[in-house]
Symmetry: C2
Subunit: 250 residues, 2 copies
């Protein structure tokens, strides 16, 4: 199989209600396009959510790091290219390029996924699933580069509680979990209007640690790293970490 057959292209269009007050696409909406591209890519190859659910497995997103030179703007047409960079026993690395119609990059993204057994919620061995079929689709960094840094580590020491929110109907997905995109929205909502007026987001990282459910109360803790970089930790029930994020403005 040649490299092109391993990489999928997922076009998208920047709709009016998908941009912020500066006219740039919301980070959560961009994340949604990436997850759709990932879903389609695996679906077409027989290890998408639908096929897996029949076998009681599902993909779980663990990390997502997005780094943008520029955010697509209202009415622009763009495309996501996605491919599997590597597969380990319990995790797979999937990369993304977010491109203009002429092929020049808006930016790139990296993600880490695990596959879990839906009953036991325990991770499965990706290398043995479907006789390791997923390995046939690996595109090495030499074949297609993703020129952004890998996922960083989070260290929270003196994060301050800045907001508490209740979660409702619109926050949850078909599994009854607060959906991955909604966390991104709630995290972006921590920043004041002035921040987005003066700066744009250069890099966004999120690590999903635990599930939360409709009705859970979420606490948002903020830890500034420097004037452009902020770490955010989200906890439910005041103790359990649900997700952690890093937002780098420029």
């Amino acid at each position: 199989m040649n490299v092109l057959e391993k990489i999928d292209t997922h076009p998208f269009y920047v709709e009016p209600f998908h941009v912020d007050f500066t006219g740039r696409i919301f980070m959560g909406i961009l994340g949604n396009h990436l997850l759709n591209a990932a879903g389609n890519h695996s679906q077409k190859r027989g290890w998408g959510i639908g096929a897996l659910n029949e076998n009681h497995y599902t993909w779980v997103l663990s990390r997502l790091s997005i780094e943008m030179e520029e955010m697509p703007r209202q009415y622009e047409h763009a495309q996501v290219k996605t491919w599997v960079e590597s597969v380990m026993k319990l995790f797979t690395n999937r990369n993304f390029a977010i491109l203009r119609p002429d092929g020049t990059p808006y930016g790139y993204a990296r993600s880490v996924w695990a596959m879990i057994d839906m009953e036991t919620r325990k991770p499965c061995d990706l290398l043995s699933l479907y006789n390791g079929d997923i390995l046939n689709y690996v595109v090495s960094p030499e074949e297609n580069v993703c020129p952004i840094a890998g996922h960083g580590r989070f260290r929270f020491k003196d994060a301050q509680l800045v907001r508490t929110i209740d979660t409702y109907y619109s926050d949850v997905d078909i599994n009854g979990h607060i959906n991955s995109i909604k966390y991104i929205e709630h995290i972006m909502d921590l920043f004041p209007r002035e921040r987005f007026e003066k700066q744009s987001i250069h890099r966004f990282e999120i690590a999903y640690k635990a599930e939360s459910y409709m009705g859970d109360r979420l606490n948002f803790y903020v830890q500034p790293v420097d004037e452009n970089e902020t770490d955010v930790e989200v906890k439910k029930n005041e103790s359990e970490v649900v997700c952690q994020a890093k937002i780098c403005f420029r």
Copy 2:
């Protein structure tokens, strides 16, 4: 011009993150598809937002009423057909049919739009704009029926304040206003999980009365009409009505 040239078809696909925990599309997401269909329809005919903005005019959504036999489900393909039913001096009525690929209806919608001068915020005379070009696109009820009731009237007497929310970055559109779709989300979020488990939404109506802005505090007042029907009024600054909605479960 024949009727088919006056009606547009806008396909959509029900994405995983666009469905609720029952697997049905969120009302806000469906509303977004309708508004996109409306935008494309007018854009292609030369009186879309882009063309208008150059002339300092913009469309403002005043009413939206959606009535569904069934909500589209995850992974389903659907289409919106949209047409202008009538044009008055200050308002135009636009209808929608939400159809399955085989042409059978999921449901229908009605909407009312005004055009305003962006500087004075006053309504414009639609019949004189572009020499009344919009009249060339009217499809009468005899030519294409929209078999749902018109927009109702709201009467609030003893509505109870049930929630107060602050508005943030993700709530606002490119004009800096809380976006029409976000109101729908916040209104749906007033209902408990059990409601959506036992019932589905048959009809949703909303009347947009005034703009609100990022940072505005919104108060939600609920008035049950009967066991299936609830009216909701949204106010800012405790007095000014921003929008009113009716939700009919079945």
